[in-house]
Subunit: 201 residues, 2 copies
């Protein structure tokens, strides 16, 4: 059933499927997009999509792992070597996240969040994605005398950044949307530093 010129297992085919999935999820939301439509948009058989990715939920999770932001990139971004002289980790994280969003397409994030507001399974998907791609690496730098506290620290950082991203890029709340990366790094960085290593009680 494959179209001429495409080989199953081909990384080009996988990428075409993920690309089609991102586009369909962005246009129709999690519940509205179908494997059939995604397969059609990628010019492959639906069975091939099932073969590579299993369920729609697995495909969704794979498609929304922004290819330019694997967790290794985040791990690199939060490593001490990436810091400018005099810059704190919190400031660096703000600057890094804003640079990422300033240079990339926001639609997959919006689609993901929209789906999470609609469906508990999509919320679970985003939760799992955040846990794997963001909380893990962030937790690795939130060294704590009480390791039980580390997930709480990482999730406070994620919470704050989600709020900043949402109000700056989606809601476009004036002062947050128009602030420079330096202004936001100076304002928000110390909060993140406190969440990572400060006293939270």
């Amino acid at each position: 059933m494959r179209k001429a010129g495409r080989r199953a297992g081909d990384s080009g085919t996988r990428e075409a499927i993920l690309e089609a999935a991102r586009s369909q999820f962005a246009d129709f939301g999690y519940e509205g997009a179908t494997i059939r439509a995604i397969a059609a948009a990628a010019a492959v058989d639906p069975a091939l999509v099932h073969h590579f990715y299993g369920s729609k939920e697995s495909l969704f999770a794979a498609a929304m792992q922004l290819p330019v932001v694997p967790s290794e990139v985040i791990t690199g971004a939060i490593s001490a070597e990436a810091l400018r002289p005099g810059e704190t980790l919190g400031q660096h994280m703000v600057r890094f996240a804003l640079a990422l969003w300033d240079t990339h397409e926001m639609r997959p994030f919006q689609a993901l969040l929209r789906s999470a507001l609609t469906s508990e399974s999509a919320a679970a998907m985003l939760r799992e994605f955040l846990a794997e791609a963001i909380l893990g690496p962030v937790a690795s730098v939130a060294k704590d005398s009480d390791p039980g506290q580390t997930p709480f620290r990482a999730s406070l950082v994620a919470s704050h950044m989600v709020g900043i991203i949402l109000t700056r890029y989606v809601l476009k709340i004036g002062p947050i949307a128009s602030a420079s990366a330096d202004e936001l790094a100076a304002a928000v960085g110390p909060s993140l530093d406190r969440y990572l290593t400060g006293d939270l009680r």
Copy 2:
């Protein structure tokens, strides 16, 4: 100006007004919509709209099925009299917001946010509404030697709270969702205090 068969106070009239309000807010944004135009669309006298709903903000809250009128709640939340002994304003704001969400239905908020993620006109509506209903009261306590800085302070508070609410109640990110109000107030309160009155440069 009422349609035949409608009695003032009639639930049908109220529903017609809310329906007209939803449509006008969606088409013209929060600032662009007027009580006069909403009344005209519902074929009632503007005085009746004022009689039923008071301000434009209250009408918006009713039309969007928000369980509370935000500026009333926020004004109460940020009054100094509401503070417990030894509690900072930032801690109080966190505790207050969580108590509000713990006792009310989240769905209207989710619906509003979902619309904002889908449509630029809905995002504009929510943005304008937040600016008036939330940033205003918060700005009133963010006293600043540089008044030009006040909207930035208020929007940082709003950004952080949006992130906390979203990750705790919608995404249900483990450590944020399971933390007690006291734990979150202790962790997040100092960030809000700094945004309100600290040095942000």
